[in-house]
């Protein structure tokens, strides 16, 4: 331990260190000193404890729901085995849910790096909270919550394929199982009765076949559960979405690809 009468300089550095306010050279010097100085270690602990109180001085603000959703998505994406007491519940709804959702999209645009399971998880949990908050009917809320929870749980054993629009934004996520698929859609326009969205699968050999036709019924996500993959697309390598005229999927795409992703 350093003698107290020679310690004033380090005592000052300890305060600066706790405040993260040291210059790099001072920080380096202090850290080297800290390894061997119990007095400074004690000082730093006391300073940090006092500063933890100071953290409460600003006015309290409710964190956006997207924050907890992001943490959940990060936990799921971390790859660490995780258990939940029950499936994650959508965070409390708030009047700012719509703004949060827009912020989520902005975040996803900005991040850009969210891929695979992380993107799917982030999309699912964020959309889950948003939709539940907007639904008025309690039964619908419960059903939607159940379906989202099921999807979140199944992420762990599904291969996830984000489908990205031409502007680089993820508009849907496919969850692939052995011979089934679920599809989460968000960001596609509502289609009218004269058109239908078609999900296409392109095989390694280049064959393209329709996997499923679906409608987007409102400005909310759609979860299409357990679509049976058509014969011939078991070795699908690319998924694509088009919006086709009529109510049935044509044999081949006739319209521009709106979104795509690689398995």
């Amino acid at each position: 331990m350093t003698r107290p009468d020679a310690h004033t300089r380090y005592a000052e550095l300890a305060a600066g260190h706790a405040l993260n306010a040291l210059e790099p050279e001072d920080e380096q010097e202090f850290l080297a000193h800290l390894e061997a100085c119990e007095l400074c270690e004690h000082d730093v602990v006391e300073h940090r404890t006092a500063l933890a109180h100071l953290a409460y001085a600003p006015d309290a603000a409710e964190p956006p729901a997207a924050l907890l959703e992001g943490i959940r998505a990060g936990v799921i994406a971390s790859g660490r085995p995780v258990s939940w007491p029950s499936e994650p519940e959508p965070p409390p709804t708030s009047l700012s849910a719509d703004r949060d959702r827009r912020a989520d999209r902005t975040r996803m645009r900005r991040a850009g790096a969210l891929t695979g399971i992380a993107a799917a998880a982030a999309l699912i949990v964020s959309l889950g909270a948003w939709n539940v908050s907007l639904q008025n009917d309690r039964d619908q809320q419960l059903a939607l919550g159940d379906r989202l929870s099921a999807a979140v749980r199944e992420l762990g054993r599904a291969e996830t394929v984000p489908l990205t629009g031409t502007d680089g934004v993820v508009v849907a996520v496919a969850l692939l199982y052995d011979d089934e698929m679920s599809l989460l859609v968000d960001g596609l326009e509502v289609n009218d009765a004269g058109t239908t969205y078609v999900l296409w699968g392109k095989s390694r050999s280049g064959d393209i076949r329709p996997v499923a036709a679906f409608d987007v019924t409102g400005e909310m996500f759609d979860l299409r559960e357990r679509l049976q993959l058509a014969d011939g697309v078991a070795d699908v390598r690319t998924l694509m979405v088009t919006r086709e005229p009529g109510r049935l999927a044509p044999p081949l795409p006739t319209q521009p690809v709106l979104a795509s992703g690689t398995v």
Partner: protein, 224 residues
Amino acid sequence: MTLPPSRPGAVAPVGATAPNDPVDGYDGLDDRGLLARVIEGDGGALEALYGRYGRACFGLARRILADEQFAQDVVQEVFLTVWRDASRFDASRGGFSTWLLSMTHHKAVDAVRREENLRKRRTTAEALETRESDAPLVDDAVWSLLRRERVREVLATLSDPQREALTLAYFGGYTQREIAGLTSTPLGTVKTRMLAGMRRMKDSLDGLSNAAEPTTPTVPRTQP
């Protein structure tokens, strides 16, 4: 097709047990107990810790960064660090909340220094004033309100130069040398003021618990 699981809080069928449902809940667990569960991979325990401290972490990061989105990013990273490296917590170096808030401060300061345009040059007087924000203010628990008032009272007992040095460092993310420049004060004087202010604050706050106020758990539990 698999039947969807029950929604949390829904009445489970007799005899049904949700996978990984803990035998007991989180209410009775202190921070270390929750952290032990996080180490075991209990995501609910992490959410319980978020329920206790997420608001404080977010408030701190938001104050330092003056940006909601960056504050979210910082707090998310903090809790994911807890998730990944909970065993890094060393109880001999202070309580969990101290560790958590210290980490939040560190990451927020790093961020504000990286994003220089975020840094709002604030005067001491502004540092603790209510800023306009998009984030909705919350109705505080009485306990939380009292703590905030107590901390502000303690800050008010510091001399103006001490308070200025502390708030510019803690909420502004400025280094000692930057504070010296901002306040036209010799660097040595800034260091001395900072230490004196810290000591005075520590003496005044002694006895005030750092534990979180009781909160409603964020994760409802299924009734056994």
